[in-house]
């Protein structure tokens, strides 16, 4: 800001340089302005350092109205039926973590706003590759984080983590806030194998214990409350039983969110203007046999791969879980089958499968 002010002063002085009187006046004014700037800078630097020692209460109060509590599936065998999220539009778009909590067709996903209002949420789309999802509630004039204004953090940056960790807050109670610093700005893939995660991208590694039950989907902000990241899921190192606290930087997930908001992540089978080819591709023509579809949302796990088929050539294997077909999320056998109906038999089909903690992308043409 000081730079901008100096720039403005310099521009103005050039414009006024035609008259000596004006110039003298201008010089005097510049002197006083410089003195003011000097004082302001000194006071400002003192204020900033004092501010570092002061309460975050005002910042936190400005962030809390953007936070939401999410309740959905789970509640058994240590799987919590809640997580966190935050508003990313004034009309009720919510960014959160893609997890089993949202993966429900029998139960409603409930959103509780900071003011205690409750809404049923619709899943607009998800990107399991980076474990994010966007929900939508029917509301307007909501406070929100603008993803375009998200800030970048470097190691050492002081951060605040907002989440409904352990579901401590209920109704209109504000979510929990933890403070800490970015310990490293690095790539999570470096620890793949030790930590059970499919995410390979950049991550803010945090020195605070931010990633606990229910914290996933929470907001990581800088100390001024500006959005910087999305709190990830709990991540345990199976080798030494240590836990990693991290957040996904907003730039890492922004493109996926935009895709979801643009409607590109939804199964095309759910689109109103769908068009079917004359002859569709089928699982049989690819050589894929899924596990029997016995429950309402059977995950599309591959049961068998018939030898000599495109699937076998692409090295697809039993127990691979199909996540995407032509970049569209397919979170059940039924949706996968429906999705294939809209792909022409002569066209390429790109599948993303999860094998253990690896994501593998293959391109197939039917036989």
């Amino acid at each position: 800001m000081i730079r901008e002010r100096i720039y403005a002063i310099r521009s103005r002085s050039v414009c006024d340089s035609n008259s000596a009187v004006v110039v003298n006046w201008q010089i005097a004014r510049m002197r006083s302005l410089s003195l003011i700037l000097l004082c302001a800078t000194l006071i400002g630097s003192q204020y900033n350092t004092l501010r570092a020692a002061q309460s975050f209460a005002t910042t936190i109060n400005s962030v809390q109205p953007k936070m939401v509590k999410i309740y959905g599936a789970g509640g058994i065998r240590g799987l919590e039926a809640y997580q966190s999220g935050f508003l990313i539009s004034p009309v009720g778009h919510i960014l959160t973590t893609w997890s089993y909590v949202l993966d429900t067709d029998t139960e409603t996903v409930t959103i509780v706003l900071d003011d205690g209002r409750r809404f049923d949420a619709k899943l607009l789309g998800a990107d399991p590759r980076i474990e994010i999802a966007v929900l939508k509630i029917d509301a307007t004039e909501l406070p929100f984080f603008d993803l375009d204004s998200a800030v970048d953090l470097s190691a050492g940056s002081r951060v605040l983590a907002f989440s409904n960790v352990f579901a401590v807050a209920a109704g209109n109670e504000p979510v929990s806030v933890l403070h800490g610093s970015v310990a490293a700005n690095t790539n999570l893939a470096a620890r793949r194998g030790a930590y059970a995660t499919t995410y390979r991208g950049a991550a803010y590694i945090l020195d605070a214990m931010t990633n606990n039950p229910g914290a996933a989907g929470g907001a990581l902000t800088d100390r001024r409350g500006q959005l910087a990241g999305l709190l990830g899921k709990e991540l345990r190192n199976s080798l030494d039983n240590t836990w990693l606290n991290y957040a996904l930087p907003i730039p890492e997930i922004k493109a996926s969110v935009d895709e979801i908001l643009a409607g590109n992540a939804r199964p095309i089978s759910s689109a109103p203007d769908r068009r079917r080819p004359i002859e569709s591709i089928t699982l049989a023509s690819l050589g894929i046999v899924l596990v029997p579809d016995v429950v309402s949302k059977t995950p599309p796990y591959i049961d068998r791969v018939r030898p000599g088929t495109p699937a076998a050539e692409a090295d697809l294997r039993p127990d691979d879980l199909i996540l995407f077909a032509n970049d569209r999320l397919v979170n059940s056998s039924k949706i996968l089958r429906e999705e294939l109906i809209y792909i022409d038999r002569i066209d390429e089909v790109r599948l993303v499968v999860q094998r253990m903690q690896q994501l593998i992308e293959v391109s197939l043409f039917a036989e």
């Binding site: 002063i9 310099r10 240590g78 403070h179």
Partner: protein, 588 residues
């Protein structure tokens, strides 16, 4: 000219650069130094009052904080439970002090202990914890993992993560209501220790954390009992009793419109007698707005059994403001049984101070008082401070305060032990009230009402509508003449508010002739301010408020009495003559 302009611009431009150069060269801005110094000063001030508690037999321990120069200190119930009557307390000055248990609040997980040996203990300054906000800096002081071999406490810094949190009992008796959540590390051994604000003022007592799959170590969520809740209980905690929490006798729920409504109510509750009914909407309780069931539980949790708390509710759009007397959560026997069952959450440290640094997971350490593992005996000089009685944590302190209250009353109003003959209170020819051991009566121009000493007082609630005015006055005289030792069973209840009067009052609870009577004494003047006689549980007491104390035969007695029963004033009387006839020396 342009050069001139540029020069100023450059000067202005250089300022932040210069400031950065200062930082780069290791010079720190004055404001940062000041902030750092403030933090150092706050910590230095705060740690002095912290206490590391060790059981005498090596089977428990935790932390605490001294709150009065004569050594009263707060800790958790779950810290003292396995420790027993006597413990040892290390302080930041490196000295070890003996301490005894005073009182416990098992539901609120609070205990009061008393350190002995000094009258000038360093004391924690209490703040108003309702002023605490999420985002405020705070720090916990204590002895996590018993790291401090020289009793120098560990300080963990953090922020307040949330306020007015409700943490349900979750299988234990310990219920944390209206508590402060912090990300300052609270670990085993921190229990009972203080949570301070950035100025080093006491805002809470740490005692609980959210633990799950990562073992019993801090995961960023610790909880402190707010100091404001403890302030409400503190008078009770000095009583040596086992203190109970309160219930409204009604449960609440939120309806579809988000209103907090009564979902169930006991007809025997005071709330019911004050007019609260099923489906009424609660709007305010204890002076706080109620907008969720948790908000209701939070308010309920910060008040002790027996307190009268303002309650406002809506019915058909009409607001009703009442004061409700809170009943106990537990029956006495139930509370005693639960205390026996209560789980011990604290680690069992066995460590000898002065042994030097040891690994925190070392389980083979020795306690300070018990290096050889023998059963700990209460030192002889401490035995005088410990007295057992069922229902009490330490009856010694109950007697201590009962005597204190009585002595203060004596000093304020005089000694009535010699005034054993009948007393007469009268106003001209309007009425005369006679109070005596054998006969008590009210005589007006048209009627005479007398107590029948052959019947229980609980059956004689005359005059009708008063709730037992004559019986209450009879008991009043009995206490003044006999004193608390001979009245019946008299215990010091603690301190409680009195509707219509500011502040708290010392309360003696007397049981005589099947009725319970509360005597409220003014903390400043020592005068007896009110009497409440409850003929049987679940009924409204007869309340007599006593004012206008004037000289009578060398003593002072009230000349104005306001008699209340239920929601209405029964009578207000002025007395113009009081005669305390003595058998051997009748007063004029």
């Amino acid at each position: 000219m342009n050069k001139v302009v540029h020069k100023f611009a450059i000067i202005a431009f250089l300022i932040p650069t210069f400031a950065m150069a200062n930082l780069a060269s290791g010079q720190v801005a004055e404001a940062v130094r000041q902030a750092e110094q403030q933090r150092i000063d706050a910590v230095a001030k705060a740690v002095k009052s912290a206490v590391a508690i060790f059981s005498a037999d090596g089977n428990g321990g935790g932390s605490g904080v001294v709150i009065s120069p004569d050594g009263y200190a707060l800790t958790n119930f779950h810290v003292v439970q396995p420790v027993g009557d006597y413990m040892q307390c290390g302080m930041a000055d490196g000295r070890l002090y003996d301490a005894v248990l005073v009182s416990i609040d098992p539901t609120g997980d609070v205990a009061l202990i008393k350190l002995v040996g000094r009258e000038d203990f360093p004391v924690a300054e209490m703040a108003d914890s309702d002023e605490v906000q999420a985002g405020d800096w705070c720090f916990a002081v204590g002895n996590p993992f018993l790291l401090a071999s020289n009793f120098e406490p560990t300080v963990t810094y953090g922020i307040v993560s949330g306020v007015h949190r409700y943490q349900e009992p979750a299988g234990t008796i310990l219920e944390y209501t209206d508590c402060i959540q912090t990300d300052a590390a609270i670990n085993p051994g921190n229990s009972g220790g203080p949570l301070f604000n950035a100025a080093g003022q006491l805002i809470g007592v740490n005692g609980r954390g959210s633990f799950e799959k990562r073992g019993r170590v801090n995961v960023g969520l610790g909880y402190a009992i707010s100091i404001n809740q403890i302030k409400h209980f503190l008078g009770y905690l000095h009583s040596g009793r086992i203190v109970d929490h309160a219930t409204l006798g009604a449960t609440v729920d939120d309806d579809e419109e988000g209103r907090v409504v009564v979902s169930n109510i006991l007809e025997s509750s005071d709330a019911y007698r004050r007019g609260l009914r099923y489906s009424d909407e609660l709007v305010s309780f204890g002076g706080r707005t109620i907008d969720s069931p948790n908000a209701f539980k939070n308010v309920l949790g910060i008040y002790p059994k027996g307190w009268r708390v303002p309650l406002s509710f809506l019915r058909d759009g009409v607001r009703h403001d009442v004061h409700v007397r809170l009943a106990g959560v537990h029956a006495v026997e139930e509370l005693l049984a639960k205390i026996q069952e209560a789980p011990v959450e604290e680690q069992k440290p066995k460590r000898r101070p002065g042994d030097g640094e040891q690994p925190s997971d070392d389980q083979e350490e020795k306690s300070p008082a018990n290096p050889h593992g023998e059963p700990a005996k209460v030192p002889e000089e401490l035995q005088q401070y410990i007295k057992h009685r069922s229902g009490f944590a330490n009856y010694f302190f109950n007697e201590l305060h009962r005597t204190r209250v009585w002595n203060e009353f004596h000093d304020a109003t005089g000694d009535f032990a010699a005034s054993r003959a009948d007393w007469t209170l009268a106003k001209g020819a309007d009425f005369a009230i006679t109070l005596g051991d054998e006969k008590s009566a009210i005589k007006t121009a048209t009627a005479t009402i007398a107590l029948d000493r052959g019947k229980d007082l609980s059956e004689q609630l005359e005059p009708q509508g008063s709730g037992g005015m004559l019986a209450t006055l009879h008991l009043w005289r009995r206490l003044l003449v006999e004193g608390p030792a001979a009245f019946g069973d008299v215990v010091y209840l603690g301190q409680a508010p009195l509707v219509g009067h500011d502040g708290l009052h010392d309360v003696l609870l007397g049981t005589y002739d099947v009725v319970e009577t509360h005597f409220y004494f003014d903390l400043t003047s020592g005068e007896l301010r009110a009497i409440e006689m409850t003929p049987e549980p679940g009924t409204d007491p007869c309340e007599i408020h006593l004012t206008d104390y004037r000289e009578v035969a060398g003593a002072k007695l009230p000349h104005r009495m306001l008699i209340r029963h239920g929601d209405s004033i029964f009578l207000e009387i002025e007395i113009d003559s009081i005669q305390l006839s003595k058998p051997d020396k009748p007063e004029a």
